[in-house]
């Protein structure tokens, strides 16, 4: 098929903190040195920030380095963290623990990361970056020698069956000397790069959590700007990794979220319902009484840390941010590390293109540069905390204390991860979980929740949740695992319905919020998430 092509020096896929920081740093270096270079950034969201969902308490460290005058430029970092609480929950009680040192938040800000990204995009545009939201990178393009040539955006206007509709517009080829993949957790193109360039050889599998988040406007008397609360314990059993965050932002807004480790074993578990149930805890529910929920969404988190970082460079491109997995897990902070990796990548790419202004080269010094930054040291120190949760909550807390206070992250060993999709046990070996019914005030069902994510996809397009084998859902997932996709999907996309006397999987793809959980957790990795038409997906405000 004939597609139009556009040429750039650098193309960046994804407008999260990593991609935007990379774009800004590239243009800064160009301006400082007088060596011009064109930078194009695309994002699948309808606007920058539309697909960004985070906590978020952020460390301003990387931002201070990138744009030291961010305050004067009106960055939306308005709420300094005040009181910082760490609670252990039993079903009825909350026990306050000393906040672990990695979770201390002095000097950190509570933000909407989506709004920070909207602001970063303005800074990038002012520096001359071409930013195109509403375009998904659907395919990696290669030169004959196997190096990356760029990406192609997805076709628009195909019917459900794949045929061309009346407004059909073929995708565009974006060619670049270097293509930077900043797709965030479980990037759909990054996944193909892992396979093609064997980037994961010799490293641990990536492991994940699913964060389900709501934004509430609470009553003024329940609101305490700057208050940060984290919890562990109930409603997770001691074998399942999970915990909550609750942040009081500006204007009576409170972000509340629950993260469930996707290595959970019981296929009856529902991360969505755990979040709903969690809100009913006596120590939690009070904040939300009389308030109203204004937004909802979900997104996977990469939780592998240091030992899961893949090879980061390949001919023609690099990985930055959470698609590579730079999140600091015990801190549950990935924004500063995502930005730092993007900035470091920018420096490598800039040097490379200045020396050899040719396509398809490999910026081999990028990982070495990274190793000399604070990011590497930070991730190395905390590498053993998350995998220790494999032993259960209490041993892990004990190990975490030992590792943090005594060994200070310098233990001479490294604990390893197991892939999440292998963790599920057959339903027959598990206890069915019965969740309480939603009350429509504090707790909700999936559909009324997804409604608040403002998600939408053109209905008449090929389904972007593709199955390698369409007999697997009924034959394996339903028969053996009681259909776990009905429960782990936070948007109610997957439903088993009876058709012609047989249970069949129905995929309501329009509801998808792009969290990527199905791509991660399907027991036989039968689901492949690919990009839908650009602009589809959630439209998160203030998330």
């Amino acid at each position: 098929m004939e597609r139009e092509a556009m040429e750039f020096d650098v193309v960046i896929v994804g407008g999260g903190p990593s991609g935007l920081a990379c774009a800004i740093r590239l243009r800064q270096l160009a301006a400082e040195s007088g060596h011009d270079l064109s930078v194009c950034l695309i994002d699948k969201g309808s606007e920058i920030g539309a697909h960004i969902l985070s906590g978020a308490v952020i460390e301003p460290r990387a931002l201070n380095e990138l744009l030291p005058d961010w305050k004067d430029r009106g960055a939306p970092l308005n709420t300094l963290v005040g009181t910082d609480r760490f609670l252990f929950l039993t079903e009825t009680r909350a026990i306050r623990f000393p906040t672990p040192p990695q979770m201390h938040n002095e000097g950190n800000y509570i933000v909407s990361l989506g709004n920070v990204c909207r602001w970063l995009a303005q800074q990038a545009e002012a520096l001359g970056v071409d930013i195109y939201p509403g375009f998904a990178a659907a395919e990696v393009l290669y030169h004959d020698d196997g190096s990356v040539k760029g990406v192609a955006t997805g076709d628009m206007g195909r019917h459900k069956d794949g045929s061309e509709g009346p407004n059909f517009a073929p995708g565009m080829e974006l060619h670049a000397k270097q293509t930077i993949f900043a797709e965030g957790v479980r990037g759909s193109l990054t996944k193909t790069l892992f396979a093609r360039f064997k980037l994961r050889e010799g490293v641990d599998p990536q492991v994940f959590g699913l964060g389900v988040k709501e934004l509430w406007e609470v009553r003024p008397e329940k609101y305490q700007q700057g208050l940060v609360t984290h919890t562990v314990g109930w409603p997770m059993d001691s074998k399942t990794y999970g915990g909550s965050f609750c942040y009081h932002l500006e204007d009576n807004l409170v972000a509340i979220g629950f993260v469930t480790g996707l290595n959970y074993e019981n296929p009856y578990l529902s991360p969505f319902e755990e979040m709903q149930r969690f809100k009913t805890h006596p120590a939690i529910r009070d904040t939300f009484e009389g308030g109203r929920r204004v937004s909802y969404g979900a997104r996977a988190i990469s939780a592998g840390g240091f030992q899961s970082i893949p090879k980061l460079s390949f001919p023609g491109g690099l990985l930055v941010g959470d698609t590579a997995g730079f999140l600091n897990v015990p801190k549950i902070k990935g924004t500063h590390t995502a930005m730092k990796s993007g900035m470091t990548a920018a420096e490598s790419v800039f040097e490379l293109l200045r020396a050899e202004n040719e396509p398809g080269k490999e910026a081999v010094d990028y990982p070495h540069r990274l190793k000399n930054t604070w990011l590497w040291d930070e991730l190395y120190r905390v590498r053993n905390i998350k995998p220790s949760f494999h032993w259960g909550l209490w041993p892990a807390m004990a190990y975490g204390a030992l590792d943090t206070y005594v060994l200070r992250g310098k233990a001479p060993w490294t604990l390893h991860h197991h892939p999440d999709h292998e963790a599920l046990k057959p339903a027959a070996q598990c206890r069915e979980i019965v969740y309480p019914k939603p009350d429509g005030v504090l707790t909700f069902d999936r559909l009324s929740s997804v409604f608040l994510s403002n998600t939408n996809h053109e209905e008449d397009q090929p389904c972007h949740l593709t199955l390698h084998d369409d007999t697997v859902p009924t034959r394996l997932n339903l028969a053996v695992y009681a259909g776990p996709e009905q429960r782990y999907c936070p948007a109610g996309v997957y439903e088993f319905v009876e058709e012609a006397g047989q249970q069949q999987l129905r995929i309501n793809a329009q509801n998808c919020v792009h969290c990527k959980t199905c791509d991660i957790k399907d027991p036989s990795q039968n689901i492949n998430w690919v990009t839908p038409e650009g602009g589809g997906g959630p439209n998160y405000p203030n998330m």
Partner: protein
């Protein structure tokens, strides 16, 4: 070829062809669930996705199709509102409009004020056709096009489902209750676009780049000598009452009984 009578005059020069003016409003995106502010003074638009009003996209598309069919020359798009409306104008130009005019105002502009401002632009630009959306999905007023036609003393083809431009005249098919009404109108003319007029095209990446270079002028209501002071007072914005849950009825008799006795609609 001299001496051959040409039934319809066609011009080679853009300047001589009929100019089309299209009004485009920046409105809350149709995917976003609008939420009233807690003090009831309006809809909360902080960091909410804004887009071109969907009916205006249809209006722009129609203008482009007329141009592509050789029925029109230059397409000028106008938006009234804050500086952010430039983005909406750029989108219209990326679709194919040639030039943009922003009437910049940070104050509230109501339909009558917009109609007056558009009239002032029409007086200057002298288009043969003005296309608007039938209504904007934020305020749902469905007034601007009609008031503009009134102020100009032009004909109006509202709720247009089909527009055929002839020589100095146009046929407009309108969606009315119970069917399609076809009306014949003289140019110049105001048309408001309904949902089924066309399906707007996807904006292409290179066209977004090109649109950045197309001319965009900014004027103020004062420049145009228009008083935009609001004539209507907004009392309160509230959420619609929550819908009561549905019930399953066993048969038609029960349905009729419920409609009569409970809903009291028949």
């Amino acid at each position: 070829m001299a001496g051959i009578a040409i039934p319809h005059v066609t011009y080679a020069n853009l300047e001589d062809e009929m100019k089309i003016l299209v009004a485009v409003k920046r409105a809350i995106d149709y995917n976003v669930k609008a939420r009233p502010k807690s003090d009831g003074t309006g809809v909360d638009l902080a960091n909410v996705k804004m887009s071109m009003n969907p009916f205006d996209e249809i209006a722009v598309e129609e203008a482009i199709r007329l141009q592509e069919a050789g029925k029109a020359g230059e397409i000028v798009v106008v938006s009234v509102g804050t500086a952010a409306c430039q983005e909406t104008l750029r989108t219209a130009m990326a679709m194919g409009a040639d030039r943009g005019i922003l009437v910049q105002s940070d104050d509230e502009v109501q339909p009558l004020a917009v109609a007056k401002l558009l009239k002032a632009i029409v007086d200057k630009e002298q288009p043969g056709l003005v296309i608007l959306g039938k209504q904007a999905i934020d305020d749902d007023s469905n007034q601007t096009g009609q008031m503009l036609a009134g102020l100009l003393g032009w004909g109006q083809g509202t709720f247009a489902a089909k527009v055929e431009i002839g020589d100095g005249s146009a046929n407009v098919k309108r969606e009315v209750d119970g069917g399609i009404q076809t009306i014949a109108l003289k140019l110049p003319l105001v048309v408001t676009a309904d949902l089924r007029l066309n399906e707007p095209r996807y904006v292409k990446l290179p066209n977004i780049m090109k649109a950045k270079k197309k001319p965009l002028d900014t004027v103020t209501p004062a420049d145009l000598g228009v008083d935009i002071a609001p004539r209507l007072k907004l009392l309160k914005v509230t959420e619609p009452p929550a819908r009561a849950g549905g019930v399953k009825v066993a048969d038609v008799n029960e349905l009729v009984a419920k409609l009569r006795n409970e809903a009291k609609v028949i």
